[in-house]
């Protein structure tokens, strides 16, 4: 049975998010369980005149890989992947899992080595993206494993995902354009600011954003979307932050993360659960201790924390900070093999100041 909503979502991804043109090379990657969406995306790319290259993978293979991989496997970067990174015009990434915790017991050192090996590819990808040569969008296929994390039934979770993507609306593309215009005004305001300060429970954090650019996330790179972000000046972050939500990475959860920054660097990191993993991640490389991204979530169709960054970082009324690589379009220059978004709720008592003036309070912009 075909769910017409996937046809609609595929059209948003192909015709709005990465806006495929005739004869463009389009890589579509995703787990085999996302077949209903992947098939529709494949069809939509063909309809748009593009050349789709599908890259389905088995959800369980990372686990097999880490269980059996020797050092030369972990260090290997496939020339095929390099070639694709150089040649693809449009990337559509679909996420989905059978078990979001399949990698819970993998040695973090192995994952770290793997991230380090992939760094060159990731860097090249970002470089091409900021040069405007490629466009990329990532989306989530609603599957049971994610529904389970979200503490919902699959049917409820499908509605959650598709509503967050505005696919429930008659014309989702028009709705995303409207969001673009609204967020543009917010970015214009913040682009004038030199310093940002965030105050919330156990949190008082300052950073400089002078000369950096606020980016309008309007459904082109993520679906769903709804956030604005920048890259703070790398050595300017000072103070402490206590994250209200768990930090999730590759199926791991770290609860009660508290970070203290000095001159932009994490100098103290504690957690209630998963502190070892937090430390291992921070030790990935030098850049992993610095903030690559500071962002404000604006999607008020996403209200609930579902342990999935794609949605959680968009929750209307939250901020998130990413440790690791900055996104070059913001002007950020931090380099790292990781990019780890951690989300903090501002809906009850949080305040954001721009050059000392309140611009956001209790989860809403006050411009």
């Amino acid at each position: 049975m075909r769910d017409e909503r996937y046809t609609k979502l595929a059209e948003v991804l192909v015709n709005y998010s990465v806006a495929i043109e005739r004869k463009q090379l389009v890589q579509i990657s995703g787990p085999t369980l996302a077949e209903p969406l992947m098939t529709e995306v494949y069809r939509a790319v063909l309809k748009a005149g593009g050349h789709p290259a599908t890259r389905p993978y088995f959800p369980g293979h990372s686990e097999i890989f880490y269980a059996l991989a020797k050092k030369h496997h972990l260090e290997y970067v496939s020339p095929l992947s390099k070639f694709e990174t150089e040649r693809v015009d449009r990337f559509i990434t679909i996420w989905g899992d059978e078990n979001t915790r399949a990698l819970s017991n993998v040695d973090p050192e192995k994952q770290k080595l793997r991230s380090r090996s992939n760094r060159e590819l990731f860097h090249r990808f970002l470089e091409r993206e900021s040069a405007g040569e490629i466009k990329w969008v990532g989306t989530q296929f609603p599957c049971n494993a994610s529904a389970q994390d979200a503490e919902m039934s699959l049917t409820e979770y499908e509605d959650f995902v598709l509503n967050a993507c505005l696919v429930n609306l008659k014309d989702p593309i028009a709705a995303w354009r409207k969001i673009h215009n609204k967020q543009k005004r917010i970015c214009n305001r913040l682009n004038k600011a030199k310093t940002i300060r965030v105050v919330a429970k156990d949190t008082d954090l300052k950073m400089k954003v002078t000369g950096r650019k606020w980016i309008n996330c309007d459904g082109q790179a993520n679906m769903p979307d709804g956030e604005i972000f920048t890259g703070p000046i790398e050595n300017s972050v000072e103070g402490k932050i206590a994250f209200s939500f768990p930090a999730c990475y590759s199926g791991r959860e770290v609860h009660g993360v508290r970070l203290t920054f000095k001159k932009g660097r994490v100098v103290k990191a504690t957690a209630d659960k998963g502190e070892d993993f937090l430390h291992a991640m921070l030790d990935t490389d030098d850049g992993a201790r610095r903030v690559g991204e500071f962002a404000i979530g604006t999607n008020y169709n996403v209200q609930k924390f579902t342990k999935n960054t794609l949605f959680d970082e968009k929750i209307g009324g939250t901020i998130h900070m990413a440790l690791g690589a900055s996104l070059p379009e913001s002007g950020g220059v931090n380099e790292s093999g990781i990019h780890w978004d951690i989300v903090n709720d501002l809906r009850e008592g949080g305040t954001i100041y721009a050059d000392g003036k309140i611009v956001h309070r209790d989860g809403k912009f006050k411009l």
Binding site: E35, L46, H51, F58, H61, L68, H73, S78, P79, L80
Partner: protein
């Protein structure tokens, strides 16, 4: 649930068929429904130190392609597929499908156009494997759609596949090595021959095989295997063949094919069912009307025609003569984007003569 026979299967594929070594770039191609076998092959490849990469196809994707693609998409040569075939060391293809007839209603011309765009890929594949730079193997995961065509239950069909691959034997690799030795004798005899004549009811065809090499297909490139084959001198095939089994290409069945050859070329082609498709395929390109391969099936663990070329062409006691591309390692020079194996049963009254001497009768070699 894990079927432990699949672990055994994967070991044969990775070590015997492909000879995977540390550092090899290995591509595993297959339909996602072959997951249980692909998992085992992926794991075994890692254990061998190779770098396995997957290229999975999702069910129904080909149909979507043919029904949606415009001309520039049908004729497109993917630079990724080309780059892969130029750079990998090992290629494992695992067949599986949910529906063997899902392309039945696609215009054969559309398929022919798409196939033509694969010519360069095929050429690179053949050249690199002939040069020994690329080792490849093709196998099939037993699934319901094939069982249905074979008119068997799923568990009977699994047994059929595993027996054909000799996985029921304690040491399948030793069993395949013994097949290799036996077939080496057939090849040696055939390599001395200049002329081959195949005779059975409705069939009397002659061809020159002078200077061509007979290849011992011992389970490495096809699993299962069990055949010896060569490419006849392209313009030498003369006479008529009536194929006793339906010939299947791109999911279509053509029944009761009769081909008449003059100077190597098909000059008349008739069929009881699917004649239009037969003609369209023969018209794909110039090479599609010439014989690319003549072969004798030797796998006596396969007795039944199951509408699946990987198994049917190996049936002990059959001959197949393929139109289209030849395999360069035989010395064959025919180039085409088609390679369509058509099979005929020799078990009852079939005879093969080498330079006029009877060397094969009723489905068995009779070498002195």
């Amino acid at each position: 649930m894990r079927d432990t026979r699949l672990e055994k299967f994967a070991k044969v594929l990775v070590h015997y068929c492909l000879g995977a070594e540390k550092g090899d770039a290995m591509l595993i191609r297959g339909e996602s429904i072959a997951a249980p076998l692909i998992h085992e092959v992926y794991a075994e490849a890692l254990r061998a130190g190779a770098h396995p990469m997957l290229r999975l196809a999702l069910p129904g994707m080909s149909e979507t392609f043919y029904n949606t693609a415009k001309k520039h998409q049908l004729t497109y040569q993917s630079p990724f597929a080309q780059y892969e075939i130029e750079n990998i060391d090992k290629l494992m293809s695992i067949r599986a499908t949910e529906n063997t007839k899902d392309l039945s209603n696609i215009d054969p011309k559309t398929q022919a156009v798409a196939r033509k765009s694969q010519t360069k890929w095929m050429q690179t594949f053949r050249d690199r494997s002939a040069a020994g730079d690329l080792r490849w193997s093709l196998t099939q995961f037993p699934c319901s759609a094939y069982a249905q065509n074979a008119e068997m239950s799923m568990s009977d069909y699994e047994d059929f596949v595993f027996r054909a691959c000799m996985l029921h034997r304690k040491d399948p690799v030793a069993a395949w090595r013994s097949v290799h030795r036996k077939q080496a004798k057939f090849c040696k005899r055939l390599n001395q021959a200049k002329k081959l004549r195949i005779v059975r009811e409705g069939t009397d065809v002659s061809m020159s095989i002078a200077g061509r090499t007979w290849i011992n297909s011992d389970g490495r490139t096809n699993m299962p295997s069990g055949e010896v084959f060569t490419g006849p001198v392209e313009d030498s095939v003369e006479g008529k063949i009536r194929y006793s089994f339906p010939a299947i290409w791109g999911g279509r069945e053509v029944h009761g094919i009769e081909l008449t050859f003059k100077k190597g070329k098909v000059v008349k082609a008739t069929a009881e069912k699917g004649e239009d498709f037969l003609h369209a395929t023969l018209d794909t390109d110039e090479g599609a009307r010439f014989v690319g391969e003549v072969a004798v099936g030797t796998n006596y663990n396969i007795q039944k025609f199951t509408k699946n070329i990987l198994f049917d062409e190996k049936i002990g006691g059959t001959v197949h003569i393929a139109v289209g591309a030849s395999y360069p390692q035989t010395g064959g020079k025919n180039s085409s984007s088609v390679h369509w194996d058509m099979i005929t049963d020799m078990r009852h009254g079939g005879r093969i003569y080498a330079d006029g001497k009877l060397i094969y009768k009723d489905g068995q070699f009779i070498l002195s």
